[in-house]
Subunit: 331 residues, 2 copies
């Protein structure tokens, strides 16, 4: 067996009755999938589980069984035997769900796959080589002798599919496929999950690609494109995601890619959300970290103050420099 | 076991020594993968195998082990114990590799996953529920007691990855993931194969998306876009594939999508290659068939004479009508 849930975690879960499960701000499929997957798992063994999220549930993941039960920060109680922190590298990612004063003294169990995890729990299980926290939960189910039913399987497969972009990321090991196959056999429909999560492109977003791609640029193995706030507003975008990351990251001639979307912050000032991707062997994690953001080597992001043009002018030379440095280090 | 190789096929392969393996015109990843995968498999058990293709090997698949051994039609001999026809629904898909006169009397063994297969062989193994011919070959390897080594695994996983668009098509069953996992464990690197086959977008093609997407249209759940021959030539496109199929087919508001590319045929007349996709529950196979082409329910294609505008004007009303009919049949 490649991975094993630590005995302290298994004991902490077995010993607790009233459990709060929490996932992170700006939740993605692995956040929702692991939160609800673990909720269903622990209910099988009779635990009283409350799922909480700092932000409202986004429409894309409302289809997950149990999504309607997720409570907001203001509904979170003060008395739990255990708080399980899912898919988050640091305590602040719980947002307003966790209150250090009210929740003082409640043990925190951390289950996460981010290499940057700060081990902020009383019990920490971090597997940086797992492609998704949901992959870890298939291992935990075995450790707790919990049979995986259809509800659990749908939640966990959603996290694996979204975090690996449907098995396309470089951390898609045979263990990932094995976990996914098992979840499919337990009743989760892979094509339906792909359809509901990854194959979702609003027509208005696609139309916005025309002006954005008319300005796409490639220089020294770095490809980038961006949308102004005016363009995003005019297109009536349903969300703020241009959904161009996987497109730009597959450009043959590029080792790194960047997608920029200009927003207006609460003070009415322009900021640009930067989303970076790197081909296998390259790393955009450090770049995002230096710009105040975070992420993994192949995918990272940050928010930089300034207009679209200003931020591109600042960030692209840094990326080109970063790529040169990484190429030098390879040779 | 879900699938089983027929005993007649196993006997035919065991009984033959000099074997010609052939795959189809306009070869894709499953054509190359099954051709070379079977070649390596049969060589393990001492067969003298020649791989042949009607068209020259395309650059994208030159990385496959054995790709350099594929011979063109003019190099094909006349004397073989058996001709194995891979991933093709009818005999004409062998192009000039098969000569009905020269090759008269040689038994044909057909291994294919197309529902439209005409059973033109002396032995026919057709599994329309398999996602790829390469998936069938993992079953055949077991029937022939052939251990899957790294070379075989790379070839077979390439066919599975390309035919399922990396496990995104609706026929991606747990058996597909199991076969893929097994091939990964045998040494095939999934991320590398994805990188070499699916994540390949020439920058010039991406630049062409800007004018093409400026004209994208959505009507009654049908989304379409197309490029003129002049645009394709001006962009210096490396191949004739706009690579917009998976983009348009993921538009939320659309049940069917079409990508049109205008070409000039050998007589100097304009023709348009049409590529159709349907969401789960819809079918574009019949439409392509009526227009002289072919394919499966979720993906099909055809070539229609006329300019880009003429063909769009002819085909789109047919698609809209087809979708209405299918919606009616559902309700």
């Amino acid at each position: 067996m490649t991975y094993q849930a630590p005995a302290e975690l298994v004991d902490a879960l077995r010993g607790a009755n009233k459990i709060l499960c929490v996932s992170h701000i700006n939740a993605d499929g692995d956040a929702y999938g692991s939160l609800l997957g673990l909720m269903w798992m622990l209910r099988v063994v009779g635990k009283q589980v409350t799922p909480a999220m700092p932000d409202p549930v986004i429409q894309e993941f409302e289809f997950l069984p149990g999504a309607g039960e997720i409570i907001p920060p203001q509904a979170v109680g003060a008395i739990y035997d255990l708080i399980v922190c899912l898919d988050m590298s640091s305590q602040d990612r719980m947002g307003a769900v966790f209150d250090p004063v009210r929740h003082a003294g409640i043990p925190l169990a951390v289950i996460d796959h981010h290499v940057t995890n700060t081990r902020f729990g009383s019990v920490n299980w971090v597997e940086a080589n797992c492609a998704a926290t949901c992959q870890m939960l298939t291992v935990l189910a075995d450790a707790l002798d919990i049979p995986i039913d259809r509800q659990i399987a749908v939640c966990l497969l959603t996290g694996i599919v979204t975090d690996t972009l449907c098995f396309r990321t470089s951390n898609t090991t045979p263990d990932v496929l094995e976990a996914a196959m098992r979840l499919q056999r337990a009743g989760a429909e892979l094509p339906a999950i792909v359809q509901r999560t990854l194959n979702r492109l609003p027509f208005n977003t696609l139309r916005l690609w025309a002006p954005v791609l008319a300005r796409v640029q490639l220089r020294e193995g770095v490809v980038w494109a961006g949308a102004t706030n005016a363009e995003l507003n005019a297109a009536g975008h349903e969300d703020d995601d241009l959904r161009l990351n996987s497109v730009l990251s597959s450009v043959n001639e590029a080792d790194m890619s960047a997608v920029f979307t200009e927003k207006v912050n609460d003070n009415g000032e322009p900021v640009v959300e930067c989303s970076f991707r790197a081909k296998p062997g390259f790393n955009v994690g450090d770049l995002a970290f230096r710009l105040g953001g975070g992420g993994h080597a192949p995918a990272s992001g940050c928010t930089v103050p300034g207009t679209l043009d200003q931020v591109i002018e600042q960030v692209i030379p840094m990326m080109i420099e970063e790529r040169r440095r990484q190429l030098d280090a390879m040779s």
